[in-house]
Each structure stands twice: as C-alpha cells, then as structure tokens.
Symmetry: C2
C-alpha cells in the first residue's frame, strides 16, 4: 500500500514528484516494436525501465488500452504487473456511476482476483456524487482521485459555474472532503490554471493534487509549484506525451529518460527552494 507518508518519503528520496502518463498510442510508438507480440507492453516496459528512478507514479490512461479491445486489456494487465511497487500506480479511468455499478468498476481496477489488476489509485468523475466514489473508498489501502478543475477547453463549460458553494469545482472539493480525508482523496487540478491553485488550497490544504497539463498541454511547473505546493509537496505532476514520445526511433527509451530527467531536475530545484529536501 502507498500511504500518504510513504508517498511523501518517496518524493523526498527520489527528489521528484513526477508521474509518467502511459497514454500509449500504437500509432505513435517506434516501428521496430511492432515485431513484438505485445508492442504496447513492450513500449511501456522500456519506458518504465528508463524512468522508474526519476518518477514516483505511473498513470496508464484506460482509453488507450480499451481502444484495442481484448489485446489492449491484455497490454494493460501486463503493464500493471510490471509497474514498480514503490510507485503510486494510477489507473486514469475517470469512471463515475451509481453505487452498485461503481462497486463493479472498483473490483475491475482494485481487486486482482477479478480482472487481474490492482492499481493503487483511480481517477473518478464527481457528477453522480458520493455514490460514484464511496465503493472505491471501501478498499482501505487505495486512493481515489476526483476531478475538480481540468485543463482542457471544456473545463469552462461547467466547472466554472457559480454555485451557492463557489465555483462548481470548489463545491466538488468541499463536498468530497466530507467523504474522506487527505489520506484517501486526491484531486485533479489542471496546470494551465496556476492561479486557481491558491483558491483550491483554501479547501484542500493537505490533499495531494494530481496535475496534468505540464508539458504537451502547456502548463508551467514553476507556477504550479509557486501556487500549489504545500509543506509535504502535495503535488503529483503528470507528463505523458512529452516524455513517452520524446523520440520515435530506436532511442525512444533513452530520449524518454532524458526528458524525465530534465523534469526531475526542475522538480528537485523546486523541492529545495521550498525547503522540503
């Protein structure tokens, strides 16, 4: 189990709060890998081998595997089995359904005896309220990561609506805080809105925030740290495409490592600046 304290310790030890997003698209991986029986797993395996000392988390995006049906699911299961035990292994699935159904999804992703996988954490959509979250919280050694403020253009459609509890994304955080504490819940906060971190930290001072959108999606790591870091770091910053597709040649794993190292070094500087290490 990856407890909050273990995660903080890993961040200090690895001097990194990087999550490598395994959004593995078979159309973007190096051609030579296609000779292997499971090219997606082969790609992920080499990315993991090349980056595991530089990151504290991996995050396969379920859609990229589901797209390939049975073989995609087999690649996902093989990838899960290969993920390092010292990392927070997140399935980015953004599920959100009523209680009975959420219980089934929780089994799929948290109970190895069901579908062959047991991730440490899952991303969830809050629209259906506590039903959509509570069945996952019954797994006492697992995390839920709830969408609050996302980084794509569509986030403006609803997340910034003004409600009786502030913006919708603020209402989500305030309500979800009543379901479990910062040892069990993280929030997704899009990095293109760095100044909003101040706002979010009012309601979620201790929670870890999973931050997509640094790198290919355009956010600034310095801004994220300036506004979003807390005394335990409290940030997991994801980069996917900028790392995993740094090269599409024979050297893709080395190129991925070089890119991850660059980010890790920036993160180390931020952790030092904040006095965390």
């Amino acid at each position: 189990m990856i407890s909050r304290q273990y995660l903080v310790d890993q961040i200090k030890q690895k001097k990194s709060f990087l999550c490598v997003g395994l959004d593995t698209d078979v159309e973007k991986i190096p051609e030579f890998l296609k000779a292997y029986p499971d090219p997606i797993f082969e790609f992920n395996k080499r990315i993991i081998d090349a980056t595991r000392d530089l990151c504290i988390s991996y995050k396969p995006n379920a859609a990229f595997y589901e797209k390939h049906g049975v073989s995609g699911l087999q690649s996902l299961i093989a990838t899960w089995k290969y993920l390092p035990a010292d990392c927070l292994n997140i399935i980015d699935a953004k599920r959100g359904d009523m209680g009975n159904t959420s219980g089934m999804y929780a089994k799929a992703f948290f109970d190895e005896s069901a579908a062959g996988m047991s991730f440490d954490a899952i991303t969830l959509s809050p629209y259906m309220g506590h039903d959509a979250v509570s069945p996952y919280l019954e797994y006492k050694d697992k995390w839920v990561i709830i969408l609050a403020l996302t980084s794509s253009a569509g986030s403006k459609d609803f997340q910034y609506l003004t409600t009786e509890h502030g913006f919708l994304y603020e209402a989500v955080i305030q309500k979800a805080n009543t379901w479990a504490n910062a040892d069990r819940i993280m929030y997704v906060v899009g990095a293109t809105k760095s100044t909003e971190f101040t706002n979010i930290r009012k309601y979620a001072p201790d929670n870890f925030l999973l931050v997509p959108g640094v790198g290919a999606q355009g956010g600034s790591l310095a801004d994220v740290c300036h506004y979003g870091m807390n005394k335990d770091c409290g940030l997991i910053v994801n980069a996917s495409r900028s790392i995993i597709y740094a090269s599409n040649g024979q050297d893709f794993a080395e190129a991925a490592r070089a890119e991850a190292l660059k980010i890790q070094q920036e993160m180390q500087a931020e952790l030092e600046k904040a006095g965390i290490i």
Copy 2:
C-alpha cells in the same frame, strides 16, 4: 443506423419504449448456465431471445463486464454481436474525458475495427464539458446520451446546485443543446424525480430521455409518462434487475419475458392514452 425517426417508428410498431438493461452479474444468474463456456453471454442471449419483440433498446452496463477482465470483455463483444439490429443498442459506460482520450473511447465503443464493437449510443458524463462529448459526435450515425439528472442518492450532491443557469442539471442540458440537436443527443433523467421532467422538457422538448430507475430503483411509469412524454414519446425507459433477475431458475428467460411483457403492456396503455398509437 438508428435515426430518431426510425426509433419513433419502432416504438409505434412494438408499442413499447422499453430498454432492457443487461447488468449481468455472474453471481445472480442461474446456476445451470455456469456449465457453458461463456455463462454471461449465454444468459444475455436467452434474455435477448425472450424479450426482443417487447423492447426497442438494450443497454449493457460496461462495469459488469469489465469486472471480469478479458473474459468479461469477450462476453461484452459477443453480446454486442448478438444484439438485434432493430434496437437502439446502448453501451452504458458513462465515460467523460478530454478530447484526445474521448476519441479513444469513441473508437473502443463505436468502431468495430478497433475493439470489435459498434454500439449505437453511449452514456457520457458531462463534467469535462464539450471535450468529453464532441469526439463521439464525429460518428455521424451514433448517439450520445448525457447524464443530466440521475436517480441515485448522490445526485443531490451536485446536480441540484444552483448556478447562473438554474440547477446544474439544467445548465448541462442548455449547454449540451448547443453541441448537437435532438437527432444526436439524449439525456439521462432519473425516474425517481418525475416532477422534474416538466422542468427538463422546458429545455429539451424534443430530445429522447433515457430513464433508469423504473422497477428495482422505484420510479413510477405513469408519473414518468405524465410529466416526461412528448408527441413522439421521447422516452426510453430502462429496466434491468426487475426483468433479468425475475427468476434465477431454469425458467429465467420465460420469467424475464413475463416481466417485460407486463411493462410493455403498461407502456402500450400510456402510448394509447397519449394518442401516439
């Protein structure tokens, strides 16, 4: 392709607006089916055979299949292949992610060449806004069914927040109406809130509404019709457990048919009362 007009014609012809929810739980199916190589598919096949003339739609719930990993996905694909072409075949997946990722999910469920399935419609969560929906709308012969007001207890957490555009669920409908019209978008509206249908019909006079929660979840069909029906019917009412688990003996398919027939007859009476047939 199931166009809006075709769906209306099917409703008139079958005198039914019933959707049979294939929430197939291997722990609840008759014991004797477990001797078959794919018990879940075998169950679904017999339920479909017993009900296809009484309903206009089937809706497998993705979670129930994902729970079983590779074999569950194989059951889902086999079920999709067996679904009748004259029915609106919905995958109840409640996905909702940024554009790039939504495009992958759309392939998984809409493009047979990707994962072996091509459903007519998918349920989607609106939290991430238009990104979460637009990639599915690129499939011109497919429907999206967006969560508006759900029927479980958690719906109160956010869907009833008051925003500058009314309740959140009303804001969702008003915004989603700008993405596509009633030929492409349906909304999920929970049947335990019948009086809210009046409200929803203000914003979605022509859209079909997918109504879960009649039967096991406790909604009243008469109320749903009184408040929610439009001149084309405009309703697809789902029943899952009350039909598929009507018996767990050798007679489960006959019992499912009897239950579906009872609902179909109630629906016929409502359609006659409304002058639609």
